[in-house]
Amino acid sequence: MGIYLPIAEISVNVFVLLAMGAAVGFLSGMFGVGGGFLITPLLIFYNIPPAIAVATGANQVIASSFSGALSHFKRGTLDFKLGGVLLAGGIVGSTAGIYVFALLRRLGQLDLFISLLYVALLGTVGGLMLVESVNALRASRSGAAPVLKKSGQHNWIHRLPFKMRFRASKLFVSIIPVLGLGAAIGFLSSIMGVGGGFIMVPALIYLLKVPTNVVIGTSLFQIIFTSAYTTLVHATTNQTVDVILAFLLMAGGVAGAQYGAKAGQRLRGEQLRALLALLVLAVAIRLAIDLFVTPPNRYSLAGLT
């Protein structure tokens, strides 16, 4: 069944989009990630213009993170204060990102920049995860006890000024890295259409030493607002948010997420992470290939923006 996307201005198949949403939702439920980093490249592979894929991806991320944050709110595993400071940084980063986005679009370099960012980020994150999970798998096979991270160890981050106390996270830390992290995630959100959970979660755990149980809820909480802000600004400045496209992806996504969560419980942590790492690397490689393969047509037309 074909449907015309009013903003992307192309006809697409409803079932392909629902399936795409469901597949990404399944994976995001299984691995506990938002899935924005998969949705945007998939949309680009499906010939949706990158500018629209990014803005719509940000819109879709709201749905999955909202639904996730609600469960964490109920369980009380959400640090509002930490989330709020992250969000303040996020708004600044997102605003800067939107400005860069519009500038790159005018220069005709937006598509390239989006692809390069995805290749670099997904390649790094995927590679690190793969190495880490393969090591963990090997260690568990050889029967060695996993090396526990020493808690209470302080790094350079804890020597920065402007400290603030975050009660729910049992944390007393400078707000500079918190704001900086929020800003970086906001910037990526507006340029890549991702929630940024796949960077936020490890950064909160390893850099800020936030207890693991509040990390996901807090990260989801800040992602809702950063991506809501990103969506709003993209809608007003670039008119690149396609609600029909976003809705189809969300509808598939929320359904898929539930089954993914169930499937995820049956797999072991290291296996799960190795699988996710392979998936992330595959997307990065596919995007990289497109950068190097001779395009069918070297010339492209664009309106003046």
């Binding site: 709201i62 609600v243 029909i244 969300m250 001779t294 010339y299 037309l301």
Partner: protein
């Protein structure tokens, strides 16, 4: 045409009016086209169509008409907009948009229908003068100081891209005479035809000489639910953004209720 000959022609046409049976009909042919509507609404699922335009020749010379020496070219020209043409080049193995050229006032679409192949109707020079045919459209570069070779390269790339996407098309044999006076032209509307005011123009040629031109305007609008969304997204973009965000939150919340596990 000197003043004397014009005067002579005027006399002759007077004579012709007075004596319709006169053997020599003067050269006062003209052309008219009519559109059955001045606006077309296309829906979201529009996948291209043929637009038929009827027209008539007034005062044709029966002899020339019988010999088929009248030719008609009908053009449906879309609104003009600035266009940036970009060229990808390889930098360290990666394909990057490097060179670009901006053109002012490029018709977004340009569909031509003709009685015969363009090269058989008249000289290349008269097409140039009339700026008729996709390959004779003058594309005004925004920076005329750029090298002519570059401008030429990007102009032809622009035409090639427009033709490849169906926005510029040529329908040879798309104009047919139904009688000595009446003709029918079929121009193609591309699936991605732009909205706005389109101009239909008909050119009459007699034995390879341009005689007369006539034009009509056609408004192309998009209609339907999807188009309303497009308009809202552009006219009330902030509210549209708020709606998009609320829809996402609602979907996320409903999804949790429907598939609740905890």
């Amino acid at each position: 045409m000197g003043p004397l000959r014009a005067f002579a022609a005027a006399i002759l046409s007077l004579a012709a009016a007075a004596l319709p049976a006169a053997a020599q009909t003067p050269a006062t042919e003209s052309i008219q086209i009519g559109l059955s509507t001045d606006a077309i609404s296309i829906t979201a699922g529009f996948s291209g169509a043929d637009l038929t335009i009827f027209g008539s020749l007034e005062n044709p010379d029966p002899l020339i008409a019988r010999q088929g020496r009248y030719d008609v070219i009908v053009v449906l020209e879309g609104p003009a907009r600035p266009v940036v043409v970009r060229r990808k080049d390889r930098v360290l193995g990666v394909w990057i948009n490097l060179e670009s050229e901006t053109f002012e006032n490029v018709p977004v679409s340009y569909s031509v229908a003709t009685t015969r192949p363009l090269q058989d109707i008249t000289e290349p020079n008269s097409y140039k003068q009339l700026s008729l045919g996709a390959s004779n459209l003058y594309m005004q570069p925004a920076e005329p100081s750029d090298s002519p070779i570059t401008i030429e390269e990007f102009t032809s790339a622009l035409r090639e891209r427009k033709t490849a996407t169906g926005l510029y098309s040529e329908n040879v044999g798309g104009v047919q005479f139904l009688s000595q006076n009446l003709f029918r032209a079929t121009v193609r509307l591309a699936p991605n035809i732009p909205v706005g005011t389109h101009k239909a123009r008909a050119f009459l040629f007699k034995s390879g000489m341009f005689v007369k031109e006539s034009s009509a305007q056609l408004e192309i609008r998009k209609s339907g639910f999807e188009q309303s969304i497009f308009r809202v997204a552009h006219d009330y973009s902030f509210l549209y953004g708020v709606f998009a965000v609320s829809l996402a939150m609602l979907t996320g919340w409903l999804g949790r209720i429907v598939f609740r596990k905890d």
